[in-house]
Symmetry: none
Subunit: 206 residues, 4 copies
């Protein structure tokens, strides 16, 4: 019998190598030769495990999406359900945690985003993710805002997250603290618009 459990070793190994290479040279210049060399295996093995370059890229995409989702969920669920604003801040923070701010990861995200414009499979994955972010934000905001207000603020937060992230990707980096501060400020502004005397408890470190 051949070595058992190799798929569980090789697949993550190849996906990691893929993300590294994309982060370094860009999706357009990434070749299976580079990836396999980085992973320390032969090029042919990619077809063995992923059916081809496309399959590997697809799985890589799913992996970073899942990592993002897992990180955000952990942060959010670590807080009580009756602290909605804190939970929103946790969601924001999760989108800017150190793993996501790794320049190579940011480059990979952008590459996949551009790719998704012309690849329905990737586009679908991205849309699901976008909807999930929005949905979680709305759910928490609903605890202290009207349906319409929650919808609008959630949309704004989501846009700020992506916008800060995108501008950061271009200019060389994002400061998590800066990002969280800006979004906090947006939330306070929005809450203020509707609650001149807001009773929502906002953490003192705002």
């Amino acid at each position: 019998m051949p070595k058992l459990g190799m798929p569980e070793i090789r697949k993550p190994q190849l996906i990691d190598a893929t993300l590294e290479v994309i982060g370094e040279v860009g999706l357009g210049k990434t070749t299976v030769a580079m990836i396999s060399k980085r992973a320390g295996v032969s090029a042919g093995i990619i077809n063995h495990y992923f059916g081809g370059k496309d399959g590997l890229l697809n799985q890589s995409m799913r992996t970073i999406l899942r990592e993002l989702n897992d990180g955000v969920r952990e942060r959010r669920e670590a807080l009580p359900a009756d602290w909605p604003i804190e939970r929103v801040r946790a969601i924001v923070g999760g989108n800017f945690d150190s793993r996501q701010l790794d320049p190579r990861v940011m480059k990979t995200w952008l590459a996949f985003w551009a790719q998704a414009m012309h690849d329905e499979e990737l586009a679908r994955l991205q849309r699901v993710n976008e909807k999930r972010l929005l949905s979680h934000l709305r759910y928490e905001l609903r605890k202290c805002l009207s349906r319409e207000q929650a919808r609008e603020v959630a949309t704004g937060i989501a846009a700020l997250i992506d916008g800060i992230w995108l501008r950061g990707a271009l200019s060389g980096g994002v400061e998590q603290a800066e990002a969280v501060k800006l979004i906090d400020s947006f939330i306070r502004g929005q809450l203020g618009l509707w609650h001149s005397t807001s009773r929502v408890q906002i953490a003192s470190n705002y």
Copy 2:
């Protein structure tokens, strides 16, 4: 009136074709053969006029950047200098005018953005543009806010512009009215944070 030389005919012709093809198949699958066929000329001519594929892509990038800037400037300058908030809204509107919301243009933008991650020449162009947007916003906001406040609000607006745009690119489209409304709401919220009794004149259609 000088007679137009071939360069003045061929270059825009090829740049238009480039943007169309990128919008349709993506930067990664765009070939000079496709571009030249679309433009109705031979493949070799691209090297003649642009020195190669890279030169053509670079010029194409500069073209859409210039179009965006020109559009934004026209809208901004059409308003009095002492209507800063209106001018900010004009800047926002310019970033979401119909030309920029053409799906093919959005795809091209995203493609160039991803490409810029690994191409210093493109990255420089993008950074210059980002700085210009921020600078204009700050300049107008300075007329009714402190330096620090202006900086922060400008950063937020820029992030919202890019974030709304990015999410729209993915989900299939952006509604200009929605975008402007969201950013208006942000501005009002931010102004409210600092001026509980704001004296800034905000257009009545807010």
Copy 3:
């Protein structure tokens, strides 16, 4: 009764799978992976039992040659030695029995034939077979014809067998009855040429 070793199980299993796959996708597209999958075993086992793909193909070839020969011999020997024309007809019938007319078998034959043009080992096998067919025909015909006449008629019958078979392979099928009828007609014509008043007994169902 000796217990069957694995070789006696595996070899026919793999040869059958080989013929099936060749019949379905053609020799050129047949891979060991396909064959082993069809046989329900691993790819590596082919080298274990046949020393490689070539060995398996060679054995497969020998198998269908043997099947054809066995079938023809059985039919021929089932008839009395002093019914030469009936024996000739039995040889013809054997070449068009249902096993040989299976479209997958016909495709395999043709594939091996083409392959034999460039593979001396296969060519040798085929030549032996061709000679055997001719030899049997001549042997029977010699009982009622001169050496020269027997040689010529045998050559014609062999050519007709292969020609009918080849044309049938292309056009989608052969009718055994049609084939036998045509060759009968040829034999009668040939006999008639030399024996205006032939004394050879030809079966009444001619």
Copy 4:
């Protein structure tokens, strides 16, 4: 302007090289690298002119089919329409002229034949050809035989042509004279079956 008329030079050049290589190493071992090297051009040019290996093989097939047809037609039409048997013999001769008996051409034919079993495009071409041969034979035989008789004799001649050819391909060669003699014999035998006192004029060199 580039060199004009290159397609008319390159295409036959590449097709010739293809037939030569297939004739030498077999279809299965033929690579575009071999073909282009033989033709003295680069491998890429094959895609330029034929869209890929398949296109080249297809065109090569069409070429040898056309050559055979042209040769047969010329021979047939060189004889008076009221010499049907002579015309039939011309058709037979055309199928065994020196060009068709070149071992490389025979190998190519056989390769294509096997390939056609799994390639509908090739199969269609072959069927058209088979039908044409049969049709011409029937047309000529109709001039001296009944419809049914003409059909049967034509079928037999066609089978003999292919069978002799196939057996020759395997055993290393065909003698045109032998082939024609055998088929002549068949024709005479068949004519004799129906016309005990045949009035059909058969050339004296029979």
